[in-house]
């Protein structure tokens, strides 16, 4: 019973983080939210008896993908609207 309650709370955190990642305009926080999704997912994989996948998700989803996105943000722009104004609207004019 305690496990099911824990899993329900985890699933709610996952959904909340996913919605936050989509809505957030500050891309750094959006990327961190996807990192949280990966943490919760790896817990889910472990509980559902797939430890192999849990290890992969922990290493690649939490560390490598997040860092690659952060490098990309450092090289482009942190705010979504600002980037759209600078790069995409240029071609419309």
């Amino acid at each position: 019973m305690a496990l099911i309650l824990f899993l329900i709370i985890m699933a709610l955190i996952l959904i909340a983080a996913a919605i936050f990642a989509v809505m957030q305009k500050d891309l750094l926080f959006a990327v961190l939210a996807t990192g949280i999704i990966s943490v919760v997912l790896s817990v889910f994989f472990y509980v559902l008896q797939a430890p192999d996948v849990a290890i992969t998700e922990a290493a690649i989803g939490i560390a490598l993908t997040t860092i690659i996105f952060i490098i990309t943000i450092r090289n482009t722009s942190r705010n979504e609207d600002e980037y759209t104004e600078n790069h995409i609207n240029k071609f419309d004019k």
Binding site: A59, L64, I67
Partner: protein, 241 residues
């Protein structure tokens, strides 16, 4: 008119999906009878401890039963790394100093990274050497090793991976994988055939080719991912290259 065709297409697609899901008995035991396997799952669960002497049946499937597919996966990762390197390749100018990070990390991070780096490497090597005994394998171990290198790369300015050594290690590991497969092909007539005895269950050297191939895959994936991160981190911020 176009809109109706799209709706019709989506309806047909949805109907097909619904029929497929109706045919799957959710919640039922799909393993089948282990003594007389009539399903693939039961066959693998029965054969991997008995014939191959492998405790982790997932790695038995990935490396032994489906070894050729794993070679394809390794090739996909290799092509991805090569493509990224060829897109981001840039000739260095003479007066250019490579600045990977602009700020110096705090002493807490630097000391912690120094302590954690060998431990992370050890964990990664453990994961891919024990791929046939415990959860994990070459890909997982390689990814863990890459996170260790990532920690050092973003903490220390001067920490530099030997790029040439990395490329050579990666290529040699990939070639060794193919050579192992070809050796089985020429001596026993089948690609990636187990050329030595499978040993006994739960021994470190058991499971036929699994430990050998997972060592190759672990080295290959670890060096590849480290190279990708190294290339990405060397892009100058704010400069279109």
């Amino acid at each position: 008119m176009k809109r109706y065709i799209i709706f019709l297409f989506i309806a047909v697609l949805g109907w097909t999906l619904a029929q497929t899901f109706r045919a799957i008995p959710f919640g039922a035991d799909r393993r089948g009878n282990l003594d007389q396997p009539d399903r693939v799952a039961a066959f693998y669960l029965k054969e991997s401890p008995e014939t191959l002497q492998t405790a982790n049946s997932i790695t038995a499937i990935v490396v032994n039963f489906r070894g050729f597919d794993t070679l394809g996966e390794v090739t996909v990762l290799f092509l991805a790394a090569t493509g990224l390197a060829s897109i981001l390749y840039r000739k260095e100018e003479d007066d250019e100093t490579e600045e990977r990070i602009t700020l110096i990390s705090s002493s807490l991070v630097r000391t912690g990274a120094k302590i954690l780096f060998p431990l992370i490497l050890l964990l990664g090597i453990y994961v891919f050497i024990h791929g046939h005994l415990t959860p994990g394998g070459g890909f997982q171990g390689g990814a863990i090793i890459a996170t260790g290198f990532l920690l050092m790369l973003i903490t220390y300015k001067r920490f530099d991976t030997n790029h040439n050594l990395m490329v050579w290690l990666e290529s040699l590991a990939g070639l060794a994988f193919v050579a192992t497969g070809l050796y089985g092909l020429f001596t026993y007539g089948s690609f990636l055939q187990n050329t030595h005895s499978v040993g006994t269950l739960n021994d470190l050297i058991s499971g036929g080719l699994i430990p050998l191939i997972y060592i190759f895959i672990g080295i290959k994936v670890g060096t590849e991912l480290t190279n990708i991160l190294d290339i990405l981190l060397k892009i100058k911020p704010g400069k279109q290259s």
